[in-house]
Each structure stands twice: as structure tokens, then as C-alpha cells.
Amino acid sequence: MDLHLKTGEIVALLGPNGAGKSTLLRLLASDLQAAEGSIETTSRTDGSADTTFADDESVHFDALSGIDNAVFFARAAGLPADKARADAEALLHRFGLSGDLDVRVSEYSFGMRRKLLLAEVLAAPAELIALDEPTVGLDPQGRDALAAALKSKADEGDLIVLATNDLEFATRVATRVVFLNRGTVVADAAPDELLASVAGVTRFEIALRRSLEAPVDPPQGVRLMSMGERLVLETDSGTAVLPAVCEMLLKAGAEVTSIDVREPGLAEVFNRLTGDTLAP
């Protein structure tokens, strides 16, 4: 793996479970030491890039309130007391936790704990912000707040690296997507560039009650991508071929439970690159 990450970028690490996304984040955050190879950092300031890291578990001081937790971690990051409190309050407000600042974290829901963790991490002044599955447990308001906060941090010149299976969020916020598969980089480009490789393609995902007994012969201009209880077809002709596809299914005696017509996204890009499936 050879990656060069620059300040001001929002880099989304995508790949199936076990691809190495979280391991790479933990290496960047110095939680793990690399068995071989090296990570070199250059800094805007003193030569050592400060890193802040939100992993996939939300660990807090449950007996203290949300604001007390946030202020503690902001101060632990080096902020003076007044600024720590102001920044923490602003971020908690952004994540919709204003009404729960003084509530004990033990009374927070899972999603509220995730929001608190993200607020704590984003309040810390750092040049590299590493986030593992940051959208897990977030409601739409939380996702919007996170997207806005990440863009704001990137505009300030911070480097943000997030590992996620949330392709919609990655497409929305990332300025760069790195596909990982079994510990190697299989693609590294801006989301628009990656999506351009599948532009104009329409995908039909057909759920069947049971797999077809014999192979099907797709209509002209339609490509068969996968068989089984989930039949996947692609075409460059848009939805105009849908009647022909339905006719094919009837001839094959298929018991269809649903047909999903999709514009291709990052999951399809990954599928084309590796032949493996990425969670949609």
C-alpha cells in the first residue's frame, strides 16, 4: 500500500469487511505500530502532525454530563478552559445535543453517544482527523451536521480520513475515495472520476423467491452481472430495456419478489474493479 494524503482532503476509505480500513486508521492514529513499512508525516506547524481519532466504540465518562465530557476532552487536547467550553458547546449544538448538555452520558442513547464522540473529536485541534464508521447510529440531522463539520475542517486545511461502509455519505463528502481490498489499494481517485467510469449504466437488481434452475439469455444490450436469488443485470440503454428483461424473467419461470432499478454508484465501481460485492 502506498498512499500520499494531503491536507485539506476528505479521504474516504471504502472496502468490504477485513479490507484493512480500520487497521489503516489505527496506524495513522498511532494506535498500532506497523510491522513493516513506514508512515511519514509533515506538519504545518512543529513537524509532528497531531491526530485525533474516533473509533467505532463510544467510550465516555458515563457518570458525567455530555458537556463535562466534551470540555474535558477539548482541554485534554490542549485548549484553554474558556475556548474548550465554547467550542464544545458549539459542536454539541451543531449535532443537536443542546438540550442534553447537562444530562449524564449514562442516560444518552447510542446515537447521542456517537454524536458526543464526534463532537469531542472534532473539537480537538488536529491536523489529521481519523474517523472509523462515523455515520453509524446518526440520524439525518447528525449526518448533515457531520458532513458540514467535516467540510468546514477540510476548508481550514485539516486532513480528514474516514473509513466507512456508508457509500452515500462517502459520495457526498469525500474529495477522494480510496478503495481497499484485502489490504491493497484497488482504486484511488475523486468520487466523480470513479463514478464517470460507470456513467450511463443502469443496473437492475432482481430479487427472486428462489434461484433459477437454468441460465438465462439476457436481451440484446443487457449484461448479466450475477445469478442466484439476486439477479443483477446492467445496460447502457436505460430503462427502455425493462420490458424485455421482464419477458426474459417470465420465459425463465422466475418468481420475482422485487425489481430495483439503480443508477450506478461507488458499489458498482468497486464491483467492476474487483468482481467482489460491496455493501450498497
Binding site: 473509533d55 467510550v59 465518562f61 482541554r75 485534554a76
Partner: protein, 237 residues
């Protein structure tokens, strides 16, 4: 950052008032019947010494292992707090919290016992120094342990062994290995001051206790990054 950690530990202690009161009440409930029973001074002082030492060691090691297991030590390690300020702040807070929680029990012991006022006055700083030792040892116990059960076991074994070496349970024969161990034991001063408070003046000075506090602090400071790393890895062991 030491002050930040110290303040955090106190806030956490105060945020759980039921636990705080229990920690003050249980030693009191143990001390009152013994103090009122007219138990012989050597027996009563041995019980008090065990209680003070185990209270301090358990109270330091168990929460630290719990924080390690749930990933809090790893999280703290990612901040700018630093290993030395974190462990020292935690030890200082633990020592003072233990002292406050044990104050009622010690107060009863001092109020009811027959010793000289000088011995009673000296008991307070000796107990503070002993609690500093137990809290520092608790950090090492937590680093050695891989679970809460191990932390409890190691706390009990280390505390009782050092108390035994201090002569709390028997008087070693003069010139024996036991006598040499007693001379160097961190809890000898506690044992002697509790006897003196009970009216059996054997106090010979607390220099070895000060040496233990100083040496343990220095070793803990020197090993703090390694200790933090070991504690953080408890989560994955």
C-alpha cells in the same frame, strides 16, 4: 494536565454520591465494633492496617483495569495529557479521595484509642503516605493484571504479603530475614503508628515509608509510557 486529571477523578468520585458514601461508611462499620469491643491493641491494629492497605490498593487498581478494559485508557492515550500527568494525577486524586473516605474510620480509631496525642497526630500523615504507596502500587497491579479478577487477586496478595513483611501479623525474631524485611517494608510505619495510637508505643520513625513513596513515584514516572501502553493493551488481551 496533572491538575486536569486530578480534577476529573474528583468529579467522577463526587458524581457517584452513593458509592462515595458507601466507601466512607463500610470502613466505619468495620472499625466501630472493633474499636468499641476492647480488642487487644495488636489485633485491632492488624485489622485496621489490612483495611487501610486493601482499601487503597483495590481502589486504585480495580477502576484502572476497568477503564483499560473499556478503552478509556486508550482514549486518554490519544489526547495530549501524556502518560506521566495522567498516572500521577490519578494517583494523587486516588490518594486524597481515599483519605477523605477513610477519615471517619480513622477519626473513630483516634477518638477511642488510648495512645498519646503525638502518636494520634502522626497517624494522619502516615496514613496519607501509606495511601500514596497503595495507589502507586495499584497502578502496577493494574498493569500486571489482565482482568478485574486478576487485579483483585494481585491487590490482595501484594497488600497482605507486604503487611506480613511489615510485622503486622507477627513480630519477627531479631536479626532474622523477617526482621530485615520488616525494616524495609512500606507498611511498617503504619503498623507501628497504629500500635502507638492504641497505647503500645513502638514508633521508630517513618523514613522507609518516605523512601517507598519517593522511589515508587520515580519508578512510576520513568515507566509511565510503558505502563500506559500495557494498560491500553488490556482491552485486547
Amino acid at each position: 494536565m496533572t491538575r486536569l486529571t486530578f480534577g476529573l477523578e474528583w468529579r467522577l468520585a463526587i458524581a457517584r454520591p452513593r458509592l462515595f458514601v458507601l466507601n466512607a461508611t463500610i470502613p466505619l462499620l468495620l472499625v466501630i465494633p472493633i474499636a468499641l469491643s476492647g480488642a487487644p491493641t495488636p489485633h485491632a491494629s492488624a485489622v485496621y492496617a489490612v483495611m487501610f492497605v486493601l482499601f487503597g490498593t483495590f481502589g486504585s487498581a480495580i477502576p484502572l483495569v476497568r477503564d483499560s478494559e473499556r478503552g478509556m485508557v486508550t482514549r486518554i492515550g490519544r489526547t495530549n495529557i501524556g502518560a506521566v500527568p495522567y498516572l500521577l494525577g490519578r494517583t494523587l486524586a486516588g490518594t486524597t479521595i481515599d483519605a477523605v473516605q477513610l477519615a471517619p474510620a480513622l477519626g473513630i480509631v483516634l477518638a477511642i484509642s488510648q495512645g498519646e496525642p503525638e502518636a494520634k497526630a502522626l497517624a494522619v500523615p502516615v496514613l496519607l503516605a501509606v495511601l500514596a504507596v497503595t495507589n502507586l502500587l495499584g497502578v502496577w497491579v493494574a498493569a500486571l493484571a489482565r482482568s478485574l479478577a486478576e487485579a483483585a487477586l494481585f491487590s490482595a496478595v501484594s497488600g497482605l504479603m507486604l503487611l506480613h513483611a511489615s510485622g503486622a501479623f507477627r513480630t519477627p525474631v531479631s536479626g532474622s530475614v523477617g526482621a530485615s524485611l520488616e525494616a524495609a517494608s512500606p507498611y511498617r510505619a503504619l503498623h507501628e503508628i497504629l500500635l502507638s495510637v492504641g497505647g503500645a508505643p513502638v514508633w521508630q520513625g517513618g523514613y522507609q515509608l518516605l523512601v517507598w513513596v519517593s522511589v515508587l513515584t520515580l519508578i512510576t514516572v520513568a515507566s509511565a509510557p510503558r505502563l500506559m501502553s500495557t494498560l491500553a493493551s488490556t482491552r485486547h488481551r
